[in-house]
Symmetry: D2
Subunit: 396 residues, 4 copies
C-alpha cells in the first residue's frame, strides 16, 4: 500500500474503525477455534505456515509497524517476537527460515493468544485516543493483511492436514469446495479501450493502483466456471498423458511429480474422492472444480480448444457475471501497471518484489472474507501452486 495515495473514507468514524478492527481480529481467532492445539503447529512445506504462526504474525504486523513507534506507553510483549514472527520483510532484520516455522514451540498457543490480546489493547487505545489519519491507514493495511492471512490459514492448514494418512475430519462448517454454478452461457465483449485499475477512496493494494487504459480486441467469456465433471472428462480423455495440451514446463512438472489429478483427489474403490475439512468425501461432478495449478488450467483450456482470459478481459467483464467462488487463473503475468511506484520502508516490500514468474488470479474464493473482495484485486501465485481455492474460467 502506498500511504500517500490511499485515504480512509471521509466518513469513517473512529468508532466504526475500532469496531471493524475488533471484528476482523476476532474472526481470526474464531477460525482457529475449529482446530486442536497440535493442529496449530502443522507446517507440511515451506510455502505453508502453522496456524499459531499466522495468529502471531498478523499481530506482529501491528506491533512492529505501528505500536513500536507510535504507541505511547505501549510495552513490547516480547522482544524476541520481532524475529520469530517476521515473514519476509528484509528491512526489519533477521528472520527464521520460512520452512522452519513449525519449529517454534515457544511461545505456546496460549502465549500467542495473549500476545494478540495485548496488541489489541494497545491498538484500541491508540485508535480511540485519536490516531492520525496516517496511522489509521496503516492500521487498515494491517487489517487487510490479516484478512489475507485468514484465507491462507485455511488453505495452509488444509494442506498440512492432508499429509496425514488419516485424512482427519476437522470441521463440519468450513466448506471450501461444495459450490455450484448459478449462471450459464457466454458473454460477448466488444473491442475498445477499457479503464483498468482501482479508483475511488476505498482501500486497495499498491498493485491495483495506477488506473490506465488498455485496448481489448473483442472476446467471449464463459459465465460458468469449469466443474469437476468437465475436468473428469479431460482426465478420462487422457488429458494428463498428452503433451500437446501442456506448456513445456507444465509437462515437465506433471512428469517429474507424477501428477495426474487435482490436489486432494484420491480414488477410493474406484470412485473419485477429495479431501475436505470434513474428511474424505466423493467428488460431486456438478460442483465447481478447485485446487488446480495454472499449468492444469491452461492445459484444460487448450484441450477444450479455448483459452484462459487475461486479467484485463476479466476486469472489463466483471460487472456482467457472478464471481467469488474461486480464484480464477488468468493468462496474465503478474507485472506492474504503468506508473507503479514502490513505497518507502518496510510496507514498500508488500507487492512489487513479487512481480515476476507468477500469474494473476482474479475474483475471490469461499475462503476470502467478503469485505476483502473487489473486482480490481490482483491475487498472484506461481504456476504450480495448487493449494489455494483456484478454478478455471474459459474465454475465446
Amino acid at each position: 500500500m502506498s500511504q500517500t495515495e490511499y485515504s480512509l473514507q471521509e466518513n469513517t468514524s473512529i468508532t466504526d474503525f475500532s469496531k471493524r478492527f475488533e471484528t476482523i481480529r476476532n474472526y481470526t481467532e474464531h477460525l482457529c477455534s475449529n482446530f486442536s492445539e497440535d493442529d496449530h503447529m502443522l507446517q507440511a512445506d515451506f510455502f505453508v505456515s502453522p496456524p499459531k504462526w499466522h495468529l502471531a504474525h498478523t499481530t506482529w504486523f501491528f506491533e512492529e509497524m505501528i505500536l513500536k513507534s507510535n504507541g505511547k506507553n505501549y510495552e513490547i510483549f516480547d522482544e524476541t517476537f520481532s524475529l520469530l514472527f517476521n515473514s519476509y520483510y528484509e528491512t526489519i532484520g533477521k528472520r527464521i527460515a520460512r520452512d522452519k516455522r513449525h519449529l517454534i514451540s515457544r511461545p505456546s498457543l496460549k502465549e500467542a493468544l495473549a500476545f494478540r490480546s495485548h496488541v489489541n489493547s494497545g491498538m484500541k487505545q491508540l485508535i480511540e485516543n485519536g490516531a492520525s489519519k496516517e496511522l489509521l491507514e496503516l492500521a487498515e493495511l494491517g487489517l487487510q493483511h490479516e484478512q489475507q492471512h485468514q484465507e491462507l490459514l485455511l488453505t495452509d492448514l488444509k494442506y498440512s492436514l492432508y499429509q496425514s494418512p488419516m485424512y482427519p475430519n476437522v470441521s463440519k462448517t468450513i466448506d471450501l469446495v461444495g459450490q455450484k454454478n448459478t449462471e450459464a452461457g457466454w458473454l460477448e465483449v466488444e473491442e475498445g479501450i477499457y479503464e483498468i485499475g482501482h479508483t475511488g477512496k476505498e482501500f486497495c493494494f499498491d498493485n491495483e493502483m495506477g488506473q490506465h487504459r488498455v485496448f481489448l480486441e473483442p472476446f467471449q467469456f464463459r459465465k460458468s466456471l469449469v466443474t469437476n465433471g468437465e475436468f473428469i472428462e479431460f482426465m478420462e480423455s487422457g488429458g494428463y498423458e498428452q503433451f500437446k495440451h501442456w506448456h513445456d514446463e507444465g509437462w515437465a512438472w506433471i512428469q517429474g511429480n507424477e501428477i495426474a489429478k487435482p490436489l486432494y483427489w484420491q480414488k477410493v474403490n474406484d470412485v473419485w474422492h477429495q479431501y475436505t475439512y470434513n474428511g474424505l468425501r466423493p467428488v460431486n461432478p456438478e460442483e465447481i472444480l478447485t485446487h488446480i495449478s495454472f499449468f492444469e488450467a491452461a492445459a484444460f483450456a487448450q484441450w477444450k480448444g479455448m483459452r484462459l482470459p487475461t486479467e484485463f478481459e476479466w476486469e472489463a467483464a466483471s460487472n456482467h457475471f457472478h464471481w467469488g467462488d474461486r480464484w480464477e487463473w488468468t493468462n496474465s503475468a503478474y507485472l506492474a501497471y504503468p506508473g507503479f511506484k514502490t513505497s518507502e520502508g518496510a510496507v514498500g516490500e508488500y507487492n512489487g518484489k513479487f512481480m515476476i514468474n507468477q500469474m494473476v488470479l482474479r475474483g475471490a474464493s469461499k475462503a476470502t472474507s467478503q469485505s476483502h473482495s473487489r473486482k480490481t484485486y490482483r491475487n498472484f501465485f506461481p504456476t504450480d501452486a495448487r493449494w489455494q481455492c483456484t478454478g478455471i474460467r474459459l474465454a475465446k
Copy 2:
C-alpha cells in the same frame, strides 16, 4: 510458424532460394571452422549443446521434417540419427536427455559433416526439381531454425569454454562484446493505440503473428544501452548487496548462487576482466554491458529509479533508435498475442509451449545473423539466463 499464414514472397525464385539455402548452411560450418575437434564435444550444462550436436540437429530438421516424407529417392543417412538429434519435439518420439548430448561420441565430427553434405544434396535436388510452395516454406522455417542455432552455437560454446580454468583463446575474429553506443538522449513517445505484431509477406515465427492493437500510456525511452561503466557504478554502490533493488526471487537467486557480477567477469589484479572468444581481457567501461540476467537488468533499472520498457513500447519506438547490439530485456512476460493458434503436428511445438515463466527480449545481438533480425522478433529466456548476449535498455 503457421504454414497457412506465411507465404514465400511472390518474387522468390528457386535459384535465389537455393542460393540462400547454401549460404546459410555453409555459414554454420564456417563458424565451426574456428573450433577444434574436441571443442565440438563440449556441453557444460543442460541448457547448452555441443557444436557437433548443433551441426547435426539443424540438419536433422531438414531430413526429419522434409526429406523423409517428400524426398523421392532420398536415402536416410542413418536411422539412429532421428533419436540422437531430436531436440524437444515430443511428437517425433524418444529423445536423449538434454543434458547428455555431450555423450554422443558416435557419429564423429567427420560423420556429422558428411550427414550435412548428404542432406544438403537431398534438399538441393528437392528444391531444384521444383518443390511446392508448402515445402519451400517449410525449408525456409528450417533455415530460420538454423540461424537461431548459429547464435546458440556461439553462446553455448562460449559458456562451455569458460568452465575451463585455462580460459582458452579460441578466435580473434568472433567479437560479441566490443560494441559502443552510437546514440544518446531520450525518446519521448506519445500515448495512443499502436499496431503490434508482424505484417507483410516475409517470414516470421508464429509468436509474432496476430497483429493487434495495444494502448500505450506516454513513455520515455533511452537511446543508448547501459554500458559496463554504468554497471560498475551499480556494483560499487552496493547494488548486489541491497535487497531493495531486487525481485524477491532475484534476491534469492543472487544469494543462493553467490552472484555479484555479470557472467564471464573476473577480477585480475583488482581490475575487472571478462572472458571472450579471444581469452580473458579487461572490461572497457565504454562498451555496452552484456551477459546479464533479467533479474540483474530489473535491479539495475530499479536502482537507477527507472524501469525496463515493455515489449510493446519497444516495438512502438523501434523505428526511432539504433538497435541490434544486444538482446534487450523487456518487462513483458512471454505470452500469446490475441488470436494466437498453435499449428498442427511437430512444427506446432515451435513456440507456444514455451509461453510461460519467461521474459521477452527484443532487438538482436552481434551473434544474430542480420537476415534473422526484425523489429517484431520476440526472443525469450528465463529470468536467470545470462549466457545470451543480453543488455539493458532503460525507460521511464
Copy 3:
C-alpha cells in the same frame, strides 16, 4: 534380539518384572514432563522424531508385537495407530514417511498418553496373568527398545529446540554435557586372543551375540576422554582447515556444510558457548567434549598423531577404565559378528539390516539409562551424525 538364545534370568519373578515394566514406562513420561505441549510436536529433520511420536511409538511396540496376538480380551486402542506409529518395520506394512512425523496433530498429546495407559493396563494384565517366558522375553525387548527411545527423545528434542533462534531454556535438571574426567594416564594392553561378545543370561541385542575370538596386537588406551579444551586447541591450530587430518569424505562433508565447530557451539562475544537444555552457556574447557561426528573424532586423533581404538580393543580393555560419560566412536565398522543370524519376523529387522556404512560406538552417555548399559553394547551411527552424546577416546 534372537528370542531363542536369550532367556529371562531364572530368578526374575513376575512381580519384579511387572514393577520393572512400570518403572521404565513411567520414566519416559517423567522425562516428557520437562517439556511443553508444543515441544512434543517438534521435528527438525528426518533423523529426529517428536516426543509425542516417541511416546506413542514405544507403546505401539507392545500393542503391535505382543497385545494384538496375545492379549485375550485386549481391545485395540485405535486401528490407525498401527500405521501412524510404526517406525521402520517393513514387515508390518505401510508407514508414514520418517520426515513427516511432525505432521501428526491427531492424536493429541493427551490421547497419546491415554494410549500409553491403555496399553500399560493390557500389558500388566497379560504379565500378571502369567505370561509365557517367550512373551516376557518379548516384553523385555520392548522395554529395552523403550530405553533406547528415552535416550533418543532427549537427543532428538535438543536438536529440534536448537533450531529456534531463541535457544530456549527448557530444563534445569537435564544435563548431558557437564561431566569431567576422573582418570588420567594410559592403559597398556597386551597382545593376545580376546573373547568378544555377550555371554550370560542377561538381555542383550542380537548384534552382541555370537561370542568369538579376536586376536589383538598390543595397544595403548587413554583413560580420559578428550576435553573441550583439547578440542579448542585442535580448532585454534587450524584443525578444520587442513585437509591432511581428514578422510576425503569427511573433508567434503565439512566443506559442503561449512562445519568448523562441534554441534551446538556458538561464539557469543568471542567466547565459545554451547546450547544445552538449560539454554546457551559458556563452554567449560575442562568438561568432556561431546556432539562430534566420527569424521571429527578421526580428524582429531590424526592431528594428535594417534588413532581411535577398535571396538574389540575397547571391549578387551573395558574392565580397566571408567566409561559411561559419552558414546565413544571406535574405528570399527558396524558389521556382523561371526555366526550372526537374523531372527524371523518383524523383530528380525532390529539390527542386521543396519550393518553397513555406520561406525560402532561403545560405552554409554548421560542420556543412557544405567540399566541399559553394558560393556558388550554396540551402538552405531553414520559417520556424520553429531546429535548423540558422542565423545573421543584415543588409542595408539
Copy 4:
C-alpha cells in the same frame, strides 16, 4: 606407498626397469587405440573420467611427482597441466571439479599424446642416467598408478558409452564379462591365527602393509563365483522385491533408483541382454556374473542363506582356489591395518584418506593387468558402485 618401507627388488636392473616402464606406458596407448577421438572425451558421471584425461593424468603423475624436482634439464611440457590433470591431491593445489573433466577440450588428444612422449623421454633419460633407488621406487609407484588407471579407463568408458541409446559396438577384442568358472565345491578352512598383509620386497600399496595376526573362526568358502544363471534365479524369485534380503540402505537405494537388475542388463524381446564393448549381446547363464553393487552381492548371499567372506578369510584361503576373474566383494569395511601410517607429502594421500564407508574387494578382474595382481591387494569401492567388474563369492 610408503617409500621408506618398500624396496625395489635387489636384482632389478636399470634396463629391466626401463623396459618395464616402456611396456606399461605403451599398454595404455594400446588400449586407447580401440577408441575414436570423440570417445576420448566421454564422461557420463562424476565418478568416471574421459580416456583423454586418464592418458594425461597418469603422465602428470610422473611430471609432477618426479620430473619437476628431479629431472635435470627437464622442461615442463605445459604449466597449465599441473592444474588440469591433478586428480585428488589437495597438497598440490587447485583442481578442476571432478565432474568437469569432460570440459577439457584443450589440450587435444594429439597434444595429450605428445605430452606422454615428452614425459616418457624425460623419464627414460632420468632412469637411464642412473636414478636413485628412491626415485625408481617413486617411478614404480607411478607405474602401479598407471595400471590402476588402465583398469578404470576400460570400466569408465564402458559406463559412458552405455549412456548412448545406440549401445555402440566399439571393440571385438576387449572382453570383460565372458568368463566361466573352472572349479566347483567348497573349501573348508580351519580356525586359527592367520598372518594377514604384505611381506617380501615386491611392490605393494601402503594399505596392504603392516603384517599382523587375525584369529579366524572356522569357515567354508565356495570355489566358484556366482553365475548369471544363479542371479537370474534370485531375480525371478523376487529378490529385488523383498526387503528382507536387503540392508536398509540397500533397500532405499534400489527403491530410489528403481534398480531391479545388474548394471548393463536390458531385456530385448524378453531375453536378458547385457552391454559389452562388443555391443548388446544375450546374457549367458553359465558366465560369471558381474557389474553388481555390494548391496546386491549381500542381498544375494542373504537370499541364499549364506554370506560374503571377510577379506581376512579371503586372504587366508587365497592359495587354495582360482581367482582373478572378478573383483570379489567382501563383508569387510575398508579400514587401516594395525600400525598403518600415512606417508608425508602428496603420495601420502594415496590410500588412507579413503578408509571410510567403502567395502574391500579382493582378487582381480579381466580388466586388471596380471602384473598388477596379488593376493594381499585391497581394492575398495562404495556400496552402491557397480561399474567395476565386480562379482560374488559365497561363504558360510
